[in-house]
């Protein structure tokens, strides 16, 4: 090999290597987040690879925590990091319990790990969640469905005039505006079995029209 050939080959190698480092540093957050996720034992309670596995009520009750394989489509980025550092109860009851209230004892992460894990979780997207163009807003048609036509508050807490009210078995929707993506709320209501094939909330797909589901998603994702 001549001198010239050698230097051009090593030049190529340098370019390839620096490209590799550049690419890997762009994903360092997610990579470290995955490491921190594994190190903290989060996988013991959370499924991070789709699709949904549960087929029977027994499968659903055997879950120790909500599945996170579509976390990046469901949550708002700003919410996740903060919650992992300071996890306040989302479900008023313990997971799938009808008798015990949520003790607020979810594992906590330090600031850096919380940010890294949030970065990793935000990368877990579900192709079923499409850009719906829904804007969170005090949608009157959505409100009427929520409080009257379907009484969603029967299982979900909401804040009405500053007071928390509503049922306890579903995740609290007070503060849904900070937590949930409107696109995901719409996808979940339209196509619930992709995300939760077996769950204690009834399916409304086919009971509500697509238009009603969009109104509801706008309303729910605006709840403070």
């Amino acid at each position: 090999m001549s001198q010239g050939q050698f230097s051009s080959a090593s030049g190529m190698l340098m370019i390839a290597l620096s490209f590799f480092f550049f690419a890997s540093s762009a994903f360092a957050g997610a990579g470290e987040g995955k490491k921190a996720f594994d190190a903290a034992g989060c996988a013991a309670c959370h499924q991070i690879k789709g699709p949904a596995k549960e087929k029977t009520i027994k499968d659903a009750l055997a879950k120790k925590g909500p599945e996170l394989w579509y976390a990046g489509s469901k949550f708002k980025k700003e919410f996740l990091g903060g919650w992992l550092e300071d996890p306040r109860p989302i479900r008023p009851m313990e997971f799938y319990s009808l008798t015990k209230t949520n003790q607020g004892n979810h594992p906590k992460l330090s600031g850096k790990d919380a940010a890294d894990v949030a970065g990793f979780l935000m990368g877990l997207k579900a192709p079923e969640v499409k850009d719906s163009g829904i804007k969170p807003q005090e949608n009157q048609r959505g409100r009427i469905i929520f409080v009257k036509k379907q009484s969603c508050y029967g299982c979900h807490q909401v804040k009405e005039k500053g007071v928390i009210t509503g049922g306890l078995t579903g995740p609290s929707l007070a503060g849904a505006a900070e937590r949930l993506s409107p696109d995901w709320v719409c996808a979940y209501l339209s196509n619930p079995r992709v995300f939760k094939p077996v769950k204690d909330m009834p399916d409304y797909a086919g009971i509500l029209t697509d238009e009603e589901i969009r109104d509801l998603a706008a309303y729910v994702s605006n709840l403070n």
């Binding site: 009520i57 009257k148 036509k149 204690d200 009971i207």
Partner: protein, 125 residues
């Protein structure tokens, strides 16, 4: 051993009876599991209308499914309709949700039978 006609008949009848019983009890077990998972959150584990969602500020209390007085007012048809389409189907509160897209028609019928066992009652004629 060669079976004569009447032995065969008895064997077939026994097998059919066994299948019927096993089938009926499988339905009953599934209905009990469905009740616990879907209905108890409002109606309570024992069906007395005292599940965790029956909080003080709920405007309407879930029906006490053990109450003969309340439950005999409903025909079997009413019970099936209200489980499938929600409270609006019997002009009751929409706090009773529709399960027609969650449970199959046969699961809903089995649930109706389960409720009849809870109240130990039939529709008043």
């Amino acid at each position: 051993m060669k079976m004569n006609i009447s032995m065969k008949m008895t064997a077939i009848a026994a097998a059919a009876w066994f299948l019927l019983l096993a089938g009926a009890s499988a339905f009953a077990a599934a209905a009990a599991e469905n009740y616990r998972f879907y209905c108890s959150q409002c109606h309570g584990l024992g069906g007395k209308g005292d599940g965790p969602n029956a909080t003080k500020n709920m405007p309407v209390s879930p029906r006490d499914h053990t109450s003969k007085y309340e439950m005999e007012k409903l025909t079997d048809e009413d019970i099936i309709n209200v489980i499938r389409d929600g409270g609006a189907a019997t002009s009751k509160s929409t706090l009773m949700p529709p399960f027609g897209r969650t449970l199959t028609a046969s699961e809903i019928t089995a649930m109706k039978d389960y409720l009849r066992r809870l109240c130990k009652c039939k529709a008043q004629s």
